[in-house]
């Protein structure tokens, strides 16, 4: 009976030792990565803010984009690019000069990404 109990105790100690060790290593790794993120954030904050022209939207009365759509596009761009970029202008595709509309079509972009197959979906 005592042998069985000690066998179980040892087993539990082994499991806790294994997972506890991994916990410790992950806490250390997390601390290192959080410190690196803080340094990167501090560097970004310290960088001079470039003067940008104000956000350029279409003139009123000509294919105006609602603020809600601007918000959605901004959020989508932030999520995709994962960087603190600033939206400089938003313009419908068909109004961009000297650009082949087919190349910039969103569906074409989707196909390109799928064929590239570097992103998990």
């Amino acid at each position: 009976m005592l042998d069985a109990l000690s066998y179980q105790a040892v087993g539990l100690i082994v499991v806790f030792t294994a997972l506890g060790s991994i916990w410790g290593l992950l806490e250390l790794m997390g601390w290192i990565f959080r410190a690196a993120e803080r340094r990167a954030a501090a560097a970004r904050a310290a960088a001079p803010v470039l003067e940008q022209e104000p956000v350029l939207l279409l003139e009123p009365g000509t294919h105006a984009i609602s603020p809600q759509v601007v918000a959605v596009i901004t959020a989508a761009a932030h999520e995709c690019l994962q960087a603190g970029d600033r939206i400089v202008s938003i313009m419908p595709v068909h109004l961009q000069p000297n650009v082949d509309v087919n190349l910039l079509a969103w569906s074409g972009e989707g196909r390109r990404q799928i064929f590239a197959s570097h992103k998990l979906r």
Binding site: A4, L5, Y7, Q8, G11, L12, V14, V15, F16, T17, A18, L19, G20, S21, I22, W23, L25, L26, E27, M29, G30, F33, R34, S117, H118, K119, L120
Partner: protein, 415 residues
């Protein structure tokens, strides 16, 4: 002519039907009902139930099975006929060196699942399924909150308590370990351990493990409510930080190295789990990842499920030992759930400034993601605006690793 007809009738399957088979047909109907109508883990229970049905029909050419004199029901054996060749140079050239033999195989005789079942006997299927599990699992919530590893460890208490209970009920140490592993709620690991330590219990253990995995939403909530107060169930946890891809890659390597160093016998399971996860997180092998997540795991689930079901012959399954295993399986599950919840409460006592909702402790059993979902739903009952799912995924996937480590301990000490 009448004699010829009688002789033929004796060759048909009708002559081979036994009462045990009839009882097992009813068991199969229950399993199929649970799987198809109730939706309890159909991916697993359907192949197991179908395999059990085939095992309890008088088949030929499907599987070879026999009851050995020591009472062990052996399945998946095949016959190899050949000729030992005597060539010059096969004799031992130096003292102490073994003599080598060369064999020319003329014929291999066996049924369909005598060969497919070798995937279970040779310990191939469970680790390869773990490859798919790793490819499907996101360890991000666990990496973001690594202290939940301890909840996954605590939930393994059920294994050891049940081991003790099985010893008291007359099982041997190897059998007790094979039964105790049910508490980990991990099908491939249960089969891995049982096949090494007590292969004659494989059918009962596998059915118990997979059935209880599918019954997690029924078994766990009463235990969780019994052990927690309303205030504890309402605890809000801090948001999880974002985990980078590099962290996930390092995690896979670190876990594999640490676990293999501590319990080398768990290497097959842990290495394949982490290989699958590495394929997922590296982001440059999408074709391999998709294969691991889909074709590989689906094919092996079919073969593993049916192979396990084919061990459920009435001769071996309808025994008092099976009833004991099923009872002990519930005990294992219950203790694992309780241990996870209680350990979370203990962690709150030690670290009150950053509390853990104790409901996520029950997710330390390896039934991914069902146990995490149960924790989330119980939390929602107490506070509809409290979202525990991602927090519960941490201990849930930690439990997979914890059960694999426990399995390695059992195998290394008892084989």
């Amino acid at each position: 002519m009448l004699q010829g007809l009688t002789d033929f009738l004796n060759l048909t399957g009708f002559a081979g039907i036994t009462w045990q088979m009839s009882v097992m047909w009813a068991v199969v109907v229950v399993l199929l009902y649970l799987a198809i109508v109730k939706g309890f883990e159909p991916l697993l229970l359907v192949p197991i139930a179908f395999g059990a049905l085939v095992a309890n029909l008088p088949t030929r050419g499907v599987i070879t099975s026999e009851m050995l004199p020591n009472g062990v029901y052996q399945t998946s054996t095949f016959k190899v006929e050949g000729e030992v060749l005597h060539h010059p140079g096969t004799e031992a050239t130096q003292p102490g060196q073994p003599e080598r033999i060369a064999v020319k195989v003329d014929r291999i005789e066996g049924g369909l699942y005598d060969f497919i079942g070798q995937g279970v006997k040779l310990e191939l299927f469970p680790p390869i399924i773990f490859l798919g599990v790793g490819a499907l699992t996101d360890f991000g919530p666990l990496i973001a909150a690594p202290r939940t590893f301890l909840l996954g460890a605590a939930a393994q208490l059920g294994l050891f308590v049940t081991f003790f209970g099985a010893l008291l009920m007359g099982f041997t140490s190897k059998e007790a370990a094979s039964i105790g592993i049910i508490g980990g709620a991990d099908g491939p690991t249960s089969i891995f351990v049982c096949n090494k330590l007590a292969p004659h219990l494989l059918g009962a253990v596998a059915v118990a493990a997979y059935s209880y995995m599918s019954l997690v939403p029924l078994i766990q909530p009463p235990i969780m409510r019994l052990l927690t107060s309303i205030e504890e169930r309402k605890i809000r946890m801090n948001s999880l930080r974002k985990v980078s891809r590099l962290e996930k890659l390092i995690f896979a390597v670190v876990v594999m190295v640490v676990c293999i160093l501590i319990v080398p016998d768990a290497a097959a399971l842990i290495a394949m789990l982490m290989l699958g996860n590495f394929l997922r997180e590296c982001g440059v092998v999408e074709r391999l990842l998709k294969t691991a997540q889909n074709e590989i795991i689906n094919i092996l689930t079919i073969f593993l499920g049916t192979s396990v079901g084919l061990t459920m012959s009435g001769q071996s399954f309808l025994a008092w030992g099976t009833i004991k295993i099923i009872i002990l399986g519930v005990v294992a599950f219950g203790f694992s759930t309780a241990a996870g919840v209680l350990f979370a409460k203990l962690m709150n006592k030690l670290s009150p400034k950053n509390p853990i909702n104790p409901l996520i402790g029950s997710a330390g059993v390896s039934a991914v993601p069902m146990a995490a979902r149960v924790s989330h739903l119980e939390g929602q009952r107490a506070d509809p605006s409290n979202y525990l799912l991602m927090h519960a995924m941490g201990p849930n996937v930690a439990g997979v690793i914890g059960t694999a480590v426990a399995a390695g301990y059992f195998i290394s000490t008892l084989k």
